[in-house]
């Protein structure tokens, strides 16, 4: 996963070609010494496109998960700490959001702008991304609220927002980090899927968009789809395995 983020940062610099450079003489070449992973539509170099795509995936993944974790933790802790009306509101909205299959809701949000860009994509993915973290934070807060150190802080007259910030939220971090790791894989897959469906951010080079191109020429030039889909699969598998590994390491209940 370190490799993934490293490639996300330096990928565009080590890419041998400009991923948008048009070279019509060399369209859809099989892998060769000049183009290690071959070329695709308009003769773009697949390796370079994948390296640039890693950056988009990393940016979307980090921003969406960052926003989702922050917002989800805030409302989840609030709901769990106060109970009653705040809890009903947050749980109710979360239930409603989850009544839509994720990708369908994403598409519905993107349908509302004429030319979806990177920012719109991030908003669309965050619209349902926060729910998981809110549920997690709420459940953990419910049990933390009853613990003695939280009660002691409250009895001492510490204001509620400070109790939450200093005593509750720090204890949520472990489970949230585990969830966020798997969540990164989920978001990257969602970004690829939306780009694959043609809903990605305009000109940016995306693994999903590349896979879409590859699928349309699958019968004649299968290498485009093989490599771009492979990049998505390996990344998602990597985040899944890392999430499992973190869970085994950090969650004492599983030992």
């Amino acid at each position: 996963m370190l490799a993934f983020f490293t490639l996300g940062v330096i990928g565009p610099w080590i890419a041998p070609y400009d991923p948008l450079a048009i070279d019509l003489l060399n369209e859809y070449q099989s892998p060769s010494m000049a183009h290690w992973l071959g070329t695709g539509d308009n003769g773009i170099d697949i390796l370079s496109a994948l390296l640039h795509g890693a950056r988009l995936a990393a940016i979307v993944g980090i921003v969406v998960v960052g926003v989702s974790v922050t917002f989800g933790t805030a409302v989840g802790t609030w709901a769990g700490y106060y109970g009653k009306l705040p809890d009903h509101v947050v749980t109710g909205v979360a239930d409603l959001v989850q009544a839509f299959p994720a990708i369908v809701l994403n598409i519905a949000v993107l349908a509302l702008v004429a030319k979806p860009g990177l920012l719109h994509l991030i908003v669309a993915l965050a619209v349902n991304g926060w729910v998981l973290y809110a549920r997690l934070a709420r459940a953990e807060t419910l049990s933390l609220r009853e613990r003695e150190f939280v009660e002691a802080a409250r009895a001492l007259g510490v204001p509620a927002h400070q109790v939450m910030r200093r005593h509750v939220v720090p204890n949520l971090l472990g489970p949230l980090v585990i969830q966020a790791t798997t969540g990164l894989g989920v978001v990257i897959l969602a970004e690829s899927t939306l780009s694959f469906l043609g809903l990605g951010p305009g000109k940016a080079v995306s693994w999903g968009a590349l896979l879409d191109q590859g699928t349309s020429v699958l019968l004649r030039f299968p290498h485009v789809a093989l490599f771009s889909g492979g990049a998505i699969a390996v990344t998602v598998l990597g985040f899944n395995l890392m999430g499992d590994w973190l869970r085994d390491r950090l969650d004492p209940r599983l030992r």
Binding site: G92, L96, A233
Partner: protein
Amino acid sequence: MSSGLLRYLVGRLARALLTVIGLVTIVFLLVRLIPGDPVEAILGDQAGPEEKAELRRALDLDRPVGDQYLSFLGSMADGTMGTSFRQPDRSVWSLMRDVLPYTIVLALAALLVAWLVAVPLGTIAAAHAGRGWDKLASATAVLGLAIPNIWLGPLLILAFGVKLRWLPLPGDDLAGPEALILPAITIGTALAAVLTRQTRAAMIEVLSQQYISAARARGVPSIPLLLRHALRNALLPVMTIGAAQLGALLSGTVVTEKIFERPGLGTLFLDAFFARDIPVVQGCVLVIAVIYVGVNLVVDLAYGVVDPRVRLS
């Protein structure tokens, strides 16, 4: 029917109805919450004034919000779900009705694939827990979960359509059931992976219970023991998880219909998206969400009837 069961059924129905009203409201609000002029945002600045006026009329945006909401609710209640923006002579529902059967058949085929793989694999894994077969089944499940369906579809086409030529390619004649096989596997693989894990966990739990030891002591042979005594009890919780996977199933049909160039709700949804046919987009979102809520309701109700413990919570 006992009063406890009745109360459970009524309560659960009321909650589902509330959810559906909430869904309708969210879908209604989506368009209205866009900052600035929604018509401008949806169509972009290249659209002509006539086109904008038409969309405004199709979405009822030229009237007070209260009226808009009432007529939106009305069009949902009378079953038309509004009028298509692109094809003003068609109601949204009539467009959906034409393609819905394709999607339902595909979804059922995917479920069939998932269950046919998951139940035997999960049972074998549980019966050999911790040993070779178990590890093989678990590794298969991890892999099945990680392969994105947007990649699996093209891979299957390459293997079975192009190289082996066993099955039809996308765009070929859709009449035969063999055209369903690859799409169903594309969607069903991830579902099968989840269900395999659940079946394994549920079977291991059941197999550790006393009545199984008792049956084994009575000399019940191991295959009937697994199938008749254990599996029956293990499948109930797995079914609930199966219903929770419905969202993935419905998302999967959207992707798969595109890969395999099949007609269906997903294709209609995407076409409407690209044409900015907002009434149809809204209708598709709503129908998909209502299917989702409805199936969960049916599973919950069935569960409540079968298992008295559920009614208490």
